[in-house]
């Protein structure tokens, strides 16, 4: 599932760096708060462990073997935030030292395997195992299902990432510039092998490892309830889902390029004219008042080739989201400062 260099165009991998940087920042702040100075050794060992997990060959039916990512297993034991950092560091070392996974694609790989996988896995596990005994069959079952679904989610996102490449980056005559397969090929192929084989390996290993840990050292499973979110950071917990949603939306922005026509309700007066047959007078006057936008039509001046246009589009989305987040952040600063005083 490690995406190598050259599979993703700059607009895609750039986007993932932009998305992952605040997530990493956020995660390290949370861990620093909850673990204090201990977070250094905790993360280092967690990451080393995560690296070693990926090195195991797991026997599969038919005499073959496969690897597991282990994102969900680590999330169940260390908590999702620590898992995010641990798996990220393991992936960075793999890319920088062994060329396993691309350097430009580090952020995209971390998004799939260190963000989507541990978080989805952790919450599926929590949901399914709610209030059951620590070493009950239900816990083990929950861990297995979480491993299966989270790996498939990660694979799905990976397929999306290189499946959109031919759509957003091709020459005028339709030659794809990066990974050449469209979504209709990339998604089924990735989904197939992960639904049929790797998902089950991940499920078996996650389930069995959790079973082993809960039998021999049940306290370890309790650890994750300490690690993820300290009381002082409660606010972040409620907004976690929202953040994930925003991230997914930003990623999907290039899909908007595929749709023909304009969004409902966002017609220009020309578009409106062709729809209605006339243009309301007031609208005609209002339109054209704002002439000064930096990124008109979600694009940068001079970036007219399809590649550059797509890049400009995503850049616009990022700038937009960034500005909104920044403003909200500043506002929340003031609001919480008020409360304190």
């Amino acid at each position: 599932m490690h995406i190598p260099d050259g599979y993703l165009g700059p607009q895609t991998y750039g986007l993932f760096y932009a998305v992952m940087t605040p997530i990493w920042f956020f995660a390290s702040r949370i861990l620093k708060k909850s673990l204090r100075a201990k977070h250094v050794s905790y993360l280092a060992l967690g990451a080393a462990f995560s690296f070693v997990i990926m090195m195991f060959n797991i026997p599969a039916p038919g005499g073959s073997t496969g690897h597991v990512v282990g994102g969900t297993l680590i999330a169940i034991i260390l908590g999702p935030w620590a898992a995010l950092m641990a798996v990220s560091i393991a992936l960075i070392i793999q890319a920088l030292l062994f060329g396993d996974g691309g350097v430009t694609a580090i952020a995209a790989n971390c998004f799939n395997m260190a963000f989507i996988m541990p978080f989805s896995g952790y919450y599926i596990y929590k949901m399914l195992s709610s209030k059951s005994e620590v070493s009950s069959p239900r816990q083990i079952f929950a861990a297995g299902v979480a491993g299966y679904i989270s790996l498939n989610l990660a694979a799905f996102f990976t397929a999306l990432e290189f499946g959109i490449q031919p759509l957003i980056a091709h020459t005028p005559d339709g030659t794809p510039l990066y990974a050449p397969y469209p979504l209709s090929v990339a998604v089924p192929v990735m989904a197939f092998e992960h639904l049929i084989l790797f998902g089950f390996l991940e499920a078996v290993v996650t389930g069995l490892a959790v079973a082993y840990v809960s039998k021999t050292d049940p306290l370890m499973l309790g650890l994750s309830s300490v690690a993820p979110v300290p009381a002082t950071m409660r606010t972040t917990r409620s907004s976690k889902g929202l953040w994930a949603f925003i991230v997914i939306l930003v990623i999907l922005t290039p899909l908007g390029l595929l749709a023909s026509g304009t969004a409902w309700g966002e017609w220009s007066s020309d578009g409106l004219h062709s729809l209605l047959g006339f243009v309301p007078e007031g609208l005609k006057r209002l339109e054209g008042i704002w002439q000064y936008s930096f990124m008109a039509d979600y694009n940068l001046p001079g970036w007219d080739s399809p590649l550059m246009a797509a890049m400009g589009y995503i850049l616009s989305a990022l700038v937009g989201v960034g500005v909104i987040v920044f403003v909200t952040f500043i506002m929340s600063r003031f609001i919480s400062a008020d409360r304190k005083s």
Binding site: S41, I58, I93, A95, T175, Y178, P188, A209
Partner: protein
């Protein structure tokens, strides 16, 4: 008796089962092989970094920055010819850095054809990448479907498909070459320090370097466990047993590493660790760095402007 093997340069750790290359190695042997090749690699990578070649003499910060810019350049340019030029450039750099071409090519192309080369082949035909046919392979009576896939009336190799496959393989190979060049010519410790120039916080690189050290420790533990198991096994275990054993080992390793993280923390605190990381920098920018930077800026701008003209 002279201990000849102690003074010879060849420090390769023998791979288990290296002589008989059976395709059906068990999971024990495979994992053991992965572990030993990791340990071997991490010794051997430093070997080239010590040579006095061109890239080795450049300040790691400058090198990291330039390789990063080159990687982005490779991902930006479109004409296959230009990507080819960049690929040749990596070969020249490898030669100037005294990396044996054979080893360099092997490291890159062992990965590229295995993965991306095979992936690129189906892209040639119009089933996957539609375009103008240049070589017709088969003709059918009308369209037909395999599941959701539409198989067109004429199956042909397309111009778009072949260009796409060529660009794809070249791009992957060039990117991989650049990363391999960086790996082979930079010591891991200075690479980590140099990452700071990309605005990566010190604490982060510190954790990465600690992780790297403990990967070695955990792998040595794992190696012992695997060898112990291997020496006690006389027949192939069932898939289920194997999976249970592997999962149990993962659990044990996790317990060990969590325990170890506590110990390491206590050890750090008792030695005065205060959650502040200060890394001593011993880098200094020399004349060769300025020369390289100047050449580099000219080279990349030339490539990018040619890309503008032809792209």
């Amino acid at each position: 008796m002279r201990l000849h093997w102690l003074v010879t340069k060849d420090m390769r750790i023998p791979l288990p089962d290296d002589t008989k290359k059976t395709s059906r190695k068990g999971f024990l042997d495979k994992t053991l092989g992965d572990v030993t090749s990791f340990l071997r690699d991490s010794v051997f990578l430093e070997e080239y970094a010590k040579r006095n070649g061109m890239l080795q003499s450049i300040d790691p910060r400058v090198k990291v920055l330039t390789i990063a810019v080159l990687l982005i350049t490779v991902s930006l340019i479109r004409p296959p010819f230009l990507i080819g030029v960049l690929y040749l450039f990596t070969l020249i750099l490898a030669l100037l850095s005294k990396i044996p071409l054979k080893i360099f090519l092997l490291r890159v192309w062992l990965f590229v054809p295995l993965f991306s080369g095979i992936i690129a082949i189906p892209a040639l035909i119009n089933v996957f990448v539609p375009g103008e046919p240049i070589l017709i392979l088969a003709k059918f009576q009308g369209k037909w479907f395999i599941g959701p896939f539409e198989i067109p009336e004429v199956i042909a190799i397309t111009r778009q498909g072949s260009v796409a496959a060529l660009v794809f393989v070249l791009r992957v190979a060039t990117s991989v070459s650049l990363v391999v060049l960086m790996l082979l010519t930079t010591k891991w410790s200075s690479l980590l320090k140099a990452l700071r120039i990309l605005c990566i916080p010190q604490i982060f690189t510190f954790i990465i370097s600690m992780t790297y050290r403990y990967i070695h420790l955990l792998l040595r533990l794992l190696e012992d466990v695997l060898l112990a198991k291997k020496s006690r096994v006389i027949r192939r275990s069932s898939v289920g047993d194997g999976q249970r054993w592997v999962s149990t080992q993962m659990g044990t390793l996790m317990k060990r590493s969590l325990k170890m993280s506590e110990d390491v923390y206590s050890a750090m605190v008792s030695r005065g660790f205060t959650n502040e990381v200060k890394i001593v920098d011993t880098f200094n920018i020399k004349k060769v760095d300025y020369l390289w930077s100047l050449f580099f800026i000219l080279f990349v701008s030339l490539i990018l402007s040619l890309n503008r003209v032809w792209g």
